[in-house]
């Protein structure tokens, strides 16, 4: 799959994961790579970019018996983006599925 397209979709997935609660990078990477075929490392550039664009924020949490973990939280702006991307994705994927199921014919 085209790498840029996949990245855009993965940004949506990461935002949707954060909608239900804050998570740390390893957790996100681990969960996402279990459902979608990506390498674990892929989520870190995505998280960094989302943070730069202020769709997520991060904070450090001390972990008992370990080093601090960087948690990510979605911002209101990020929630808006997630809603929009999800809507777009559903419309787009439905249209593509219809097209593919018709065997690539326009009608």
């Amino acid at each position: 799959m085209n790498i840029q397209f996949k990245k855009g979709v993965l940004e949506m997935c990461v935002l949707l994961m954060l909608e239900s609660g804050d998570r740390y990078g390893y957790d996100i990477a681990n969960d996402l790579s279990q459902t979608i075929t990506i390498s674990d490392g892929t989520v870190y550039p995505i998280l960094r970019r989302l943070k730069q664009e202020e769709y997520v924020t991060s904070y450090l949490v001390e972990s008992p018996g370990g080093a601090p973990r960087k948690y990510y939280a979605i911002t209101p702006k990020g929630r808006e983006l997630a809603t929009m991307l999800k809507k777009e994705w559903l419309t787009f994927s439905e249209q593509v599925n219809t097209f593919v199921n018709r065997g690539g014919k326009l009608q």
Binding site: L47, R69, T91
Partner: protein
């Protein structure tokens, strides 16, 4: 690859960044290795799952600069998901993607300081849009307006213009009249007539074959003739099944064609 090897390669690939940025990024992977180790994973398996450090490094910068040749050719076989680890020089030019909105750098920066206005557009403006294929691409999102002209022009084909309600009703009445007074009496009559004709011949052939086989004392020739008639009877039974299927198909195509004609779609 061990953790220190991975970190060294990632650090080297990020050498163009400022030291602060680089350390920030490296810290994320340090943390990843640490948590992985706490969960009992080996450095090898963690770094394998992370992917190629050079390609990860490239994805930090690909919004701004084109990275060429940052990965070594032999690495493509090393990772489990080769389709995702495209080498940077296989990536299409950046501007192609900034148009369709998925290119990450361009995507979010088109509306600086302003959230995308995706709830403000009144519904009525959608219905005034031409009813073409891309309707689902709600036109109230700024970047789609950019993308719409070059990308979806092909969809505005004349055959996609729907008919108005009046035209549709006229075609509907026309098709009902045509169907009731011409297609059903003539086409249906012929189809049903032929069906019964085949059935009749089949029954006759069956009866003759039974009669001949029963009267088998009359001679060997008689029996052979009876078998021949039985074969004819069987052929007619299968022929009738095929014929029925063909008629059903014919009529279903006819009604499909009618609906296309009424809706003004796909009639070339």
């Amino acid at each position: 690859m061990t953790k220190s090897e991975f970190m060294a390669r990632l650090g080297a690939a990020l050498s163009q960044m400022s030291e602060q940025e680089r350390n920030d990024i490296l810290n994320d992977y340090e943390e990843h290795f640490r948590i992985g180790a706490e969960q009992g994973k080996t450095e090898e398996s963690i770094s394998y799952a992370l992917g190629s450090p050079e390609e990860l490094a490239a994805s930090y910068t690909d919004g701004e600069t084109e990275q060429v040749g940052t990965s070594h050719p032999e690495q493509t076989q090393e990772y489990a998901q080769p389709d995702f680890h495209e080498t940077p020089n296989q990536q299409p030019p950046v501007q192609d993607y900034s148009q369709n909105g998925w290119q990450t750098g361009g995507y979010y920066t088109q509306e600086p300081g302003k959230d995308p206005e995706f709830t403000q557009q009144p519904q009525s403006s959608q219905s005034s849009q031409p009813p073409f294929y891309g309707q689902g691409y709600v036109p109230n999102q700024p970047y789609y307006q950019q993308a719409a002209q070059p990308t979806y022009v092909y969809a505005q084909r004349p055959s996609y213009q729907s008919r108005t309600a009046g035209e549709r009703a006229a075609y509907l009445i026309l098709m009902i009249c045509l169907t009731l007074f011409l297609v059903l009496p003539v086409g249906g009559g012929i189809a049903i007539g032929l069906w019964f004709a085949i059935l009749g011949i089949g029954i006759a052939a069956g009866a003759v074959s039974i009669a001949m086989l029963v009267a088998s004392s009359a001679g060997v020739g008689f029996v052979l003739l009876g078998i021949a008639f039985a074969c004819l009877c069987a052929a007619l039974v299968f022929g009738l099944i095929g014929y029925t299927g063909g008629v059903v198909k014919l009529f279903s195509s006819y009604f499909k064609m009618c609906s296309r004609l009424i809706n003004g779609r796909g009639v070339a």
